[in-house]
Amino acid sequence: MSIVKAVYEALVKVINFYVLVRDKLSPGWSTKNSSRVKEWKLMAYAFSKSKIGVLGGMIVFVVTLLAIIGPLLAWEPYWEYKVVEDPELWYHPPCIPPWCSGYPLLGTDEWGRDIISLSFYGFRISFVISLFVVFLGAPLGILLGLVAGYKGGLIDEVIMRLTDIFIAFPGLILAIAFASVFPQRIRAFLEANTLLRDFLSFIFGLRPNEYAQLAAILSVWVAMVIVWWPGYARIVRGSVLSVREQPFIEAAKLVGLPTRKILIKHVLPNVLSPILVMMTFDLATATLFAAALSFLGLGPQEPVPELGYLISKAGNFFPERTAHIVLYYGTILLVIALGWNLLGDALRDVLDPRTRRSIEFREGG
């Protein structure tokens, strides 16, 4: 009960802060949008009542935090191969203090690197890739879906045929094709652009001279964006088709608003909630998909500690020496994806007005 209250109060604080900022930026905003703010608070309450959602939110919060500070926490640089100095470190088994000492807690990988320290880097890479994919793929799909649904006619036909082509294509195959084709090109580009290279390596928590591996990560990412947008285009188009016929769109047209404004201010907010839910679920799918691509050897290679790649390497000595490694990295992936999925499952109930109304609302909490 106390958790429900705490979560609700925290969310209300965030909403109040947002209202304060908006009010400072454009005076009178809060009075004009009071009903909308009330709706948000209702959503916050409904969300705080959902145990699954609160658990998912907590996981996502911790994962985000770990992804941000992960590479700073890692106590061993991932490019140091300690096995050169001490051959004992080659896949050293877990070392739990009372029985054994002097070696890492969960053992080491083939290069003698501490598995736990290594996983912090992997956290960052997986997290950033999934964010990049969803936050680039979704807007692209949304834009195309909006235009197709609103304009209709030939434009609609062309965009939807294009969407069909990309959906008819098995996603993994397209991604494999891209991942095997793109790295060479992106690599040359990164070699030339020092600034971009430094920026990207900072974001992924890697060294700047790892640009060959950065190119591989980027190609995985480009491939996934291309696979990702058609789903959004389809869903958005479907909802736009029904919104388009509503009287308020007619009114906006009569007032003489430009199409761009109608689409962004009047159509988009009305189709947004299923998209938000889908994006949350897709963050989980994208994390797993990126890991699967690296598992197949299409992502970054040595020495970049991408979780999927680390698992595929550990798989070579499965199960005698590496069962715990596969289990540990697998659990990390599971937890990241589970956090997003739990959150998405709760958001679906919260953002849907029909189910939200059924959750009793107490004013003020």
Partner: protein, 352 residues
């Protein structure tokens, strides 16, 4: 609109989709900065004459659209050759695809056996423990990295208990395969159809009555199937549950109850109406399975379509890539069509 007009309209819209898929595949492949011919020939047989011969054969001295037109025309006339394995691509596809069909079928059986009963249970006992369990099962299934699950299934079912094996694919005996191969000549038309079905090793063995091969196939392939059931079964169960609840809460059920219809009759109506979203998802799932699961085939060592595609891409084997993509696109189109037709069969209100 009658069924024929519907089919014709569908066929017309599918042609550009099919060509578009092929074109995009080709353009992606064309963007590779390295020389594919060298990758095809390999180090051992590399000599200038041979390279030149292959270059001319596949029109590498011509602009890209001529190469593409050449590939597509060869593909449609069935003469396209896989330059790496040096035999017709269709020979290769006819070897790989039946195996993928087997894997997909067994996986599908697990999916249905796990998904539908769980979904019905969750709907009947809504908000109970089992409902909550199905929800968690679905969420965990979609959050599990597939390859990690595969590893631990292999650990449990192969390394420790030896209930399966991970090498080779069971085939019917040579006499049986010869008999199936001779069917088209003895019985024209019908024989072609039967021999196509018989090309799936499991079905072929069943036709000859070699049941031990069928049993062996199940023993070999139940593990990837079980994995699929564990990963996607919860998702299917959730869809079954939600559509059942939608149907149970609708007005015709209330009316049927008011009229005093028997429970069994009411359930018949409910099931028929609830089946539509379930059929869609299952159909699309099956279509996806037929394109081969690259990761499952890699971990479980199955020579299916996914593995073939992966090997072809990493060796820049364009003709094989084009042929496999063509097959995938056709599978996608056919599954969508079958799903649409099934709608009409299930729900008499839907007519084309």
């Amino acid at each position: 609109m009658g069924l024929t007009t519907f089919l014709v309209r569908r066929a017309v819209t599918f042609v550009p989709t099919l060509l578009g898929v092929l074109l995009i595949t080709y353009l992606i492949a064309y963007a590779v900065p390295t020389d594919p011919v060298r990758a095809w020939v390999g180090e051992k047989l590399m000599n200038p004459e041979r390279l030149q011969e292959i270059r001319e054969k596949y029109r590498f001295d011509r602009p890209w659209y001529e190469q593409f037109a050449f590939l597509v025309s060869e593909l449609l006339s069935g003469r396209l050759e896989d330059p790496v394995r040096q035999r017709n691509v269709f020979t290769e596809l006819f070897y790989r695809f039946p195996i993928t069909v087997e894997v997909a079928l067994i996986g599908f059986i697990f999916l249905v056996l796990i998904g539908i009963p769980l979904g019905v249970l969750a709907a009947v006992k809504k908000d109970s423990f089992i409902d909550f369990f199905v929800r968690i099962f679905a969420l965990t299934g979609s959050s599990l990295p597939a390859f990690v699950l595969y590893y631990f299934l292999i650990l449990g079912f192969f390394v420790y208990t030896h209930t399966t094996y991970l090498a080779g694919i069971p085939y019917p005996t040579q006499t049986c395969r010869d008999w199936i191969g001779s069917l088209p000549t003895t019985y024209p038309y019908v024989g072609n159809f039967i021999s196509a079905i018989g090309s799936v090793p499991m079905f072929g063995a069943a036709m000859c009555g070699e049941w031990f091969v069928v049993a062996d196939t199940f023993k070999r392939l139940y593990l990837p199937g079980l994995a699929l059931g564990l990963l996607n079964g919860g998702f299917i169960a959730r869809i079954v549950r939600n559509s059942l609840l939608d149907a149970l809460g609708s007005e015709y059920v209330l009316f049927a109850k008011a009229r005093g219809l028997k429970k069994l009759r009411i359930w018949r109506h409910v099931l028929k109406n609830a089946m539509i979203p379930v059929v869609t998802v299952l159909g699309i799932n099956f279509g996806g399975l037929l394109s081969g699961a690259v990761i499952a085939e890699t971990v479980f060592n199955i020579p299916g379509m996914g593995r073939y595609m992966y090997d072809s891409i990493t060796r820049l084997n364009f003709p094989a890539i084009i042929a496999a993509t063509f097959l995938f696109a056709i599978i996608y189109i056919v599954t969508n069509l079958v799903v649409d037709i099934l709608y009409a069969a299930i729900d008499p209100r839907i007519r084309y």
